[in-house]
């Protein structure tokens, strides 16, 4: 990919193409755009004889590019983990303007948003086996059935092939949206399942947002965030986040789902229109307002019970949490949502490990097999994606295991602040098929799970010590009896 990119840069000779290309950050997009511009150039200068030859070469190169295009369009490349093309599905195109701050912040960060109605009959996530998008935003809570080829299975498959998903639901959340959430380990509350148009919403009579008119305490001001700089950014979110919508609970069987924004202990989930005859099933801190899932393939999913959370109105509104006197000019929503979307779309918290190396101490070549009690050195380079480039990842808790059914060696890797992690240890006195395992799972970061198989053999027959000190009496015995036998033979034969 880089090569083709370079080829265009240097081979074309058109300066402005370079600058044009530079305005795009990712090679894949740049390549596509450049191709277009090339064709335009060729058409424009088609009559010019002097440029005809040049045009031919360009056409040739363009055709190579065309050929390579499917490969370039791979999303989620290891080179550049941040998503680029995002499909936004809406119930109503009005959301585009009512939530424009959020969308504009995405656009300004370089995302390519494709707005479509959820019922659009031409909807499709992939074509010719290639995904057209890197991310999907479902702002269509009430959709019963997607248009086109999109359905529950294809959305889940999209996630399972490493793409990201944001779901904004509200009290009108349809079965389809709920099913997607359930598959991701989150159960939206449906306390009154009979009336879909008026599902249970989160109500909190102590930490609601103080406002002029409303009195039903469904606009919740929550500041119970997950404690993770990686997910929510380093800057602390000072103002509470406004939330209006349905709550959800996490499926206890799912170990990958995380509560990002939880309700206060006094919250509960109930239907406003019906009389509460029995205690609500979902109460207190069990209610999660916003959750994220990082799947095993590092696809990230954001599930919010409130679509309004992303709206301009709540972004801009001032907030005062009930029971407190501090009134913030602006709610924490914008910061919260922006930071969270950066995490979701892999602008932050993405690690990669490269150059896993191991060799015997004092050597450089990687052996096919170790011997017991060998001294070895292990190193790996870990980098973190900063949104634009790979920066060395610095941590002091990366560990390597030398593993055969259970870890025989567990060592913390030391690092040189430049991304290189290394350690050395002695192979245990046990033979078998071992693995170098790095299982690095930290909150917010993509999980690193490296394993490299390496057999460990016992000593060869000629690698044992030839003479053991403890055995000297035996050597003495055998040699003396040999000598004795010899002397005896001489005497016996010649001394008659």
């Amino acid at each position: 990919m880089r090569e083709v990119y370079g080829l265009l840069h240097h081979g074309s000779g058109f300066g402005f193409i370079n600058s044009f290309a530079d305005s795009f950050k990712t090679p894949s997009h740049c390549a596509a755009r450049t191709l277009l511009s090339l064709i335009i150039i060729i058409i424009r200068h088609g009559n010019s004889k002097t440029l005809a030859k040049m045009g031919k070469t360009l056409l040739f190169r363009a055709s190579i590019l065309l050929f390579l295009l499917p490969f370039l369009c791979n999303s989620f490349s290891p080179e550049n983990p941040t998503d680029r093309r995002i499909l936004v599905l809406l119930d109503d195109l009005a959301i585009r303007s009512s939530h424009s701050i959020f969308f504009n912040s995405l656009k300004s960060r370089g995302f390519d948003l494709d707005f479509k109605l959820a019922e659009d009959p031409k909807l499709s996530l992939k074509r010719y086996g290639q995904y057209l998008y890197d991310g999907l935003i479902l702002f269509s809570p009430s959709i019963k059935r997607f248009g086109g080829s999109l359905d529950l299975a294809s959305v889940l498959e999209f996630v399972d092939s490493g793409h990201d998903l944001i779901i904004g639901a509200d009290s009108s959340a349809s079965d389809l949206i709920r099913d997607i959430a359930t598959e991701c380990g989150v159960d939206f509350d449906e306390a009154s399942g009979i009336l879909y148009d008026a599902a249970a919403v989160v109500i909190d009579h102590t930490s609601y947002a103080v406002s002029e008119a409303e009195g039903d305490h469904t606009l919740i001001a929550s500041d119970d965030f997950i404690q993770s700089d990686v997910i929510l950014g380093e800057k602390k979110i000072a103002a509470p986040v406004l939330f209006r919508g349905i709550g959800h609970s996490l499926n206890a069987a799912n170990s990958l789902v995380l509560k990002v924004l939880s309700a206060s202990p006094s919250a509960y989930s109930a239907n406003l229109k019906t009389k509460l005859s029995s205690p609500p099933s979902l109460t207190g801190s069990a209610i999660s307002l916003v959750s994220v899932v990082q799947a095993r393939n590092n696809a990230r999913v954001l599930l919010s019970g409130s679509l309004d959370l992303f709206s301009n109105r709540l972004f801009r509104s001032a907030v005062q949490k009930a029971g407190t006197s501090i009134k913030y000019e602006k709610s924490g929503n914008e910061q919260f949502v922006t930071e969270l979307s950066k995490w979701i779309f892999h602008e932050r918290g993405h690690l990669k490990a490269v150059n896993v190396k191991h060799h015997k101490a004092g050597e450089t070549a990687e052996p096919a097999m170790y011997r017991i009690n060998d001294d070895l050195e292990y190193s790996v380079e870990i980098y973190e994606w900063s949104g634009t480039s790979w920066k060395p990842y610095v941590a002091d808790d990366v560990q390597v295991q030398f593993y055969m059914m259970s870890p025989y060696v567990l060592k913390t890797l030391s690092n040189d602040q430049k991304g290189q992690y290394y350690t050395s240890f002695r192979v245990p006195d046990v033979y078998g098929v071992f693995q170098f395992k790095v299982e690095y799972q930290r909150l917010g970061y993509t999980s690193l799970s490296l394993s490299k198989q390496i057999p460990v053999r016992p000593f060869r027959h000629n690698e044992y010590e030839r003479f053991i000190t403890a055995a000297y009496p035996y050597y003495g015995a055998s040699f003396s009896s040999m000598a004795g036998f010899f002397v005896f033979t001489i005497i016996y034969l010649y001394n008659k």
Binding site: V159, G185, A295, R296, V301, M405, Y431, V433, R457, H461
Partner: protein
């Protein structure tokens, strides 16, 4: 299990080539030109001997080729694939690499030190033959060398047996039988030691020590020899047949044989440390005591004094020996007997304590019918031979009698040990036939006044002729003798036919390729094993780990070239039990076990479609037993209904939902196997299965062979979002 070339069902019937002695008169026109040449009787005899031997040699070779000719030149059984694979490695990488080979492809993740856990004799022999042939510019394939080594050695065995028989019975014994049973030429080489005892020569003892070394290097069954020989020596001592010859032969053989055997890494210090070898050592020390006493007796003239001395010495020796043994056992220096050895002495031991030994079909007690089947007339001739042996008791016959009786006992305990008994049974029967026929021919000849040839000589024949002349008064004696001779000839020829038939029908069907008769009588070949292994080889990642029951381990590594969890070298019972546990657990529990073992594929053998009965469902109870032996969570009664093993609707619920059941019967409920039967009719068990709607959650079907005999499943990665 290590050092066999072809085994599994590994029995080979003894084959005899009946060549009645003194048959010059019986077949006069057979060698007309010889007659015209007027060869001397001695020369005739020699010629006959050589011709017969050559024929026997050929027959022994040819009879082993049934499976090769009917199917193809390939290794047909389960275990020999290991020998094949290691021989291949040996020829490719040389002896030192072989000796130090650490195999990371079997027993994952423990690995196996091949060089230290095998009896290298067979592989080295095959590789040596290969190298010799290559050196002679024969472009042979190592596979063919491996296949043909067995027949070659079978032929050699007959030769050894002939000379052995000749040694035991005087040179008048001319009745030899080719005995191409499977892989026991080694026994004979070791048995060659007897020669040493007879002659008392140091050189022969040395030779027998080397023979013993070769046997140790080839097969774990050497333990039989190392216990038989001391037993024999002990019997000689007790019966007062102690002699200097015995002393020289045994001591040389024991010391040198032990030192040589210790060079085999797998045997190592067992000779001085394991309980099985203690008898040999005890007898060795006993010999020294005997010799010492002999010497003292020689020095002391006073009998009374000697008696006292004897008493003191014997008491001291016995108590010191007992003390040493006790201390050694208690301190753990001398390891106790292994389970396999125990189960030989007490046939019920393995069944109660070590399911993994009891589970092997070769280790089952032998049925009477199989004795009949394999031995045919030998079964009747054997006691007769014993009678003749006792009648002419000598050191040599004592040996053959002891060898025969002990090995016959062991053959009764374990099917596979019929192999060990076969040579002895053949020899003793041969003695019986030889003696009988000689007596009869003597009768025939005395009447017809045929001049005695030099063929019958020695005290024995002198005795028999004397006896014959005593009985001369009986009427119709000559006719009776002729009739009996004809009868014996008939029996022997029937026997030869029977043996050939047995070899061709029962012991030449390979287990890797299955043959059956189709509906129209045509032969149908099920080549599913190789189909599956080939699939594994072509379609799975090179480092994929395959879990299967241990029977198929060697084949998967040799033919599929993939890593296995357990294989036929059952050295680690816990590991096998883990696999057994996985197979008998519910799918989710099994998934965790498989995950901890990094299993990528699971292979099961299923005979429900073809009616192939030695499949994994029929082996399943052994998996449960072996698994339950280590992990008590697996309980055999959970899989049985009223003590009965069933797979139909009445089966135990755990049985219907365990991993093995699910893997075998996945999608089987949709299949109609036999006309007029409901879908899901298991032809191997003859029932309609109980759980037709098998759903797999953690595994997915990867490959099923054309006749469903081998089914391979892929273990799914953990769920992405959970």
């Amino acid at each position: 299990m290590g050092g066999k070339h072809e085994s599994a069902n590994g029995l080979k019937a003894p084959i005899s080539t009946p060549t009645p002695p003194a048959h010059v008169s019986l077949r006069p026109d057979f060698f007309p030109n010889l007659k015209s040449l007027k060869l001397k009787t001695k020369q005739q005899e020699l010629l006959l001997r050589v011709t017969t031997l050559c024929l026997v040699y050929l027959l022994a070779f040819i009879i082993r080729l049934f499976s090769v000719l009917r199917y193809e030149s390939m290794i047909h059984e389960f275990d020999p694939y290991f020998n094949y694979r290691t021989t291949l490695f040996l020829t490719r990488h040389g002896f030192y690499e072989f000796w130090n080979w650490f195999d990371s492809e079997s027993w994952y993740p423990l690995g196996r030190i091949i060089g230290g856990t095998l009896y290298p004799g067979l592989m080295v022999t095959a590789a040596f033959l290969y190298w010799v042939l290559r050196f002679l510019r024969f472009a042979v394939n190592i596979k063919d060398v491996c296949v043909l080594t067995a027949p070659f050695f079978a032929s050699n065995t007959t030769l050894v047996a002939y000379f052995f028989g000749k040694e035991i019975w005087d040179s008048g014994c001319r009745h030899r039988r080719g005995r191409p049973h499977r892989h026991l030429p080694w026994v004979h080489l070791a048995v060659g030691r007897r020669v040493a005892v007879n002659t008392g020569s140091l050189a022969w003892a040395l030779g027998s020590a080397f023979g013993y070394f070769y046997m140790v290097s080839a097969w774990g069954g050497y333990v039989f020899i190392i216990n038989l020989v001391p037993l024999y020596v002990l019997v000689l001592l007790i019966t007062g047949r102690y002699s200097m010859r015995l002393y020289v032969a045994y001591c040389t053989m024991y010391v040198l044989g032990m030192l040589l055997a210790m060079q085999i890494r797998f045997v190592g210090f067992q000779h001085v440390q394991s309980g099985e070898h203690m008898a040999a050592m005890g007898v060795f020390f006993l010999m020294q005591v005997f010799y010492f006493l002999d010497w003292v007796k020689h020095l002391l003239s006073d009998t009374k004094l000697f008696q006292d001395f004897l008493r003191i010495t014997v008491t001291c020796a016995v108590s010191v020996g007992g003390l040493a043994l006790g201390v050694g056992m208690a301190s753990g220096f001398i390891s106790p007997w292994t389970g396999r050895f125990y189960s030989l002495l007490d046939p019920t031991y393995a069944k109660d304590h070590i399911p993994i030994i009891a589970s092997v079909s070769e280790h089952q007690p032998t049925a009477w019918s199989s004795f009949m089947f394999d031995y045919h007339i030998l079964l009747f001739l054997f006691p007769a031979g014993l009678y003749f042996c006792f009648k002419r008791l000598s050191d040599a016959t004592i040996f053959i009698v002891m060898y025969g009786l002990t090995s016959l006992y062991f053959a009764g305990v374990m099917v596979r040990l019929i192999l060990v008994a076969t040579p002895a049974v053949c020899l003793i029967s041969a003695i019986a036939v030889s003696a009988t026929v000689k007596n009869l021919t003597t009768l025939v000849r005395t009447k017809s006044k045929v001049i005695h040839t030099g063929s019958s000589k020695g005290t024995a024949s002198a005795k028999t002729s004397a006896k014959a002349s005593l009985d001369q008064s009986l009427p119709f004696q000559r006719n009776g003798a002729i009739a009996l001779l004809v009868g014996a000839f008939y029996l022997l020829s029937r026997y030869a036919t029977h043996c050939t038939w047995v070899t061709s029908e029962a012991y030449s069907s390979p287990s890797i390729v299955l043959a059956a008769r189709g509906a129209h009588g045509g032969r149908v070949i099920f080549d599913d094993y190789r189909e599956a292994y080939f699939w594994l080889r072509q379609n799975t990642p090179p480092d994929a780990k395959v879990m299967s029951w241990w029977d198929y381990g060697y084949q998967i590594t040799a033919m599929g070239n993939r890593t296995v969890i357990v294989d036929n070298n059952t050295w680690n019972n816990t590991h096998i039990a883990t696999v057994g546990r996985a197979m008998s657990s519910y799918e989710d529990e099994a998934y965790e076990i498989m995950h901890s073992l990094d299993v990528d594929y699971v292979l099961v053998v299923f005979g429900g479609v073809t009616g192939y009965s030695s499949d994994d469902i029929n082996k399943f109870l052994w998996m449960v037993r072996i698994g339950g032996g280590v992990f008590p969570v697996i309980k055999e009664p959970d899989y049985l209904v009223n003590g009965e093993f069933r797979v139909d609707k009445g089966a135990a619920p755990k049985m219907l939902n365990c991993l093995m059941y699910k893997l075998c019967y996945y999608r089987f409920g949709e299949l109609t196997t036999e006309y007029g039967k409901p879908p899901g009719y298991d032809r191997a068990r003859g029932v309609e299965i109980g759980n037709k709607d098998v759903k797999l959650e953690y595994l997915e079907e990867a490959f099923t062979t054309s006749n469903w005999i081998v089914r391979i499943y892929k273990v799914k990665p953990p769920s992405n979002r959970w």
